[in-house]
């Protein structure tokens, strides 16, 4: 019976958003989250937040999909060669067509970061390069001092679940083990990068509830 519902029907949408805490869902639907980078961290964070029902995601990345990305990023073989943000938007719409996905096919820089992410409640740092991570943290905390930024640092290798944690310094939150680094030419592995991305997404939901829905029971 339910399988016969069509995604563009109101009945399907009602079913899609069922089995959720109404007050939490209401907050998430009104929320907007920025994701800087659409690689291992960013694509996994985006999928998680789209499934959670966040109303608007602003995603920026300059890259295209390479075969080597498929070991950990939320793309598929027939998307290799395409722009990451376009493919990710397509995938997110297949997961949750009821949210808005604003994508920017651009390298995030000191000049454009504040503009791209001007209207988000929380920003997720999902870059690969350490320098870029610091740049975004600096821009966010200086231009938007009241806005939380959820970054990642230390997610290479495998195992070590107990080492992964979240550290808070003011409005900066950092998820990861703070120690592992990939050897040159070796990418992070799917389980660990997805684990840290899930921690970032989970923290984003928590922060959104705190920021926008103080009446909601945690």
């Amino acid at each position: 019976m339910k399988a016969a519902l069509k995604p563009d029907s109101l009945a399907f949408a009602r079913e899609f958003f069922s089995c959720r805490e109404p007050a939490v869902l209401a907050v998430l639907r009104q929320s907007s989250v920025g994701i800087a980078g659409a690689g291992g961290l960013g694509s996994n964070v985006a999928v998680s937040l789209a499934r959670a029902g966040v109303g608007r995601l602003v995603i920026a990345d300059f890259d295209k999909i390479e075969p080597s990305n498929l070991n950990r990023q939320q793309y598929f073989i027939d998307q290799v060669g395409r722009r990451k943000v376009e493919a990710l938007r397509e995938n997110l719409l297949l997961i949750n067509p009821y949210s808005l996905y604003e994508v920017h096919d651009a390298r995030v820089t000191r000049r454009n970061a504040a503009k791209i992410f001007a209207r988000v409640d929380v920003l997720v740092e999902a870059f690969d390069q350490a320098k870029a991570k610091e740049m975004l943290i600096e821009i966010c905390l200086t231009r938007f001092p009241g806005r939380p930024i959820v970054a990642a640092s230390g997610l290479a290798g495998y195992g070590g679940n107990r080492k992964i944690h979240t550290r808070r310094m003011g409005n900066l939150y950092i998820c990861g083990d703070e120690e592992s680094q990939c050897p040159a030419g070796v990418s992070p592995m799917a389980p660990r990068v997805a684990l840290v991305a899930a921690m970032q997404a989970n923290l984003v939901v928590e922060l959104l509830i705190k920021l926008r829905g103080r009446h909601v029971q945690g």
């Binding site: 991570k133 600096e138 905390l141 997610l155 310094m169």
Partner: protein, 91 residues
């Protein structure tokens, strides 16, 4: 006056501890405190690059990003806490 420096990630090995008290003169800046801490060539190399901070370092004073203040020229007060966090690549 005395300020506190807190280290994270591999900087805990570099500075041989999680935190350290630093004695600096009145009116000292973040640059002065970090320069005092960087008493070996390896420490200087890991913290500074051409008179600026290395680009992957997040430095905060009392939980506020140092670039929200006056950067390395931010004046310190007794009891201030400087946190130094080197970001690691991967994503």
């Amino acid at each position: 006056m005395t300020v506190k420096a807190k280290f994270f990630a591999y900087f805990r090995d570099l500075f041989e501890g999680r935190e350290r008290d630093v004695v600096v003169g009145e009116g000292a800046t973040v640059r002065d405190a970090l320069s005092t801490l960087c008493d070996t060539s390896e420490r200087r190399r890991e913290v500074f690059e051409g008179g600026s901070l290395k680009p992957h370092l997040v430095v905060m004073v009392n939980g506020v990003h140092v670039e929200s203040l006056r950067g390395l020229d931010t004046a310190l007060s007794p009891g201030d806490t400087i946190a130094v966090f080197p970001m690691l690549g991967g994503g």
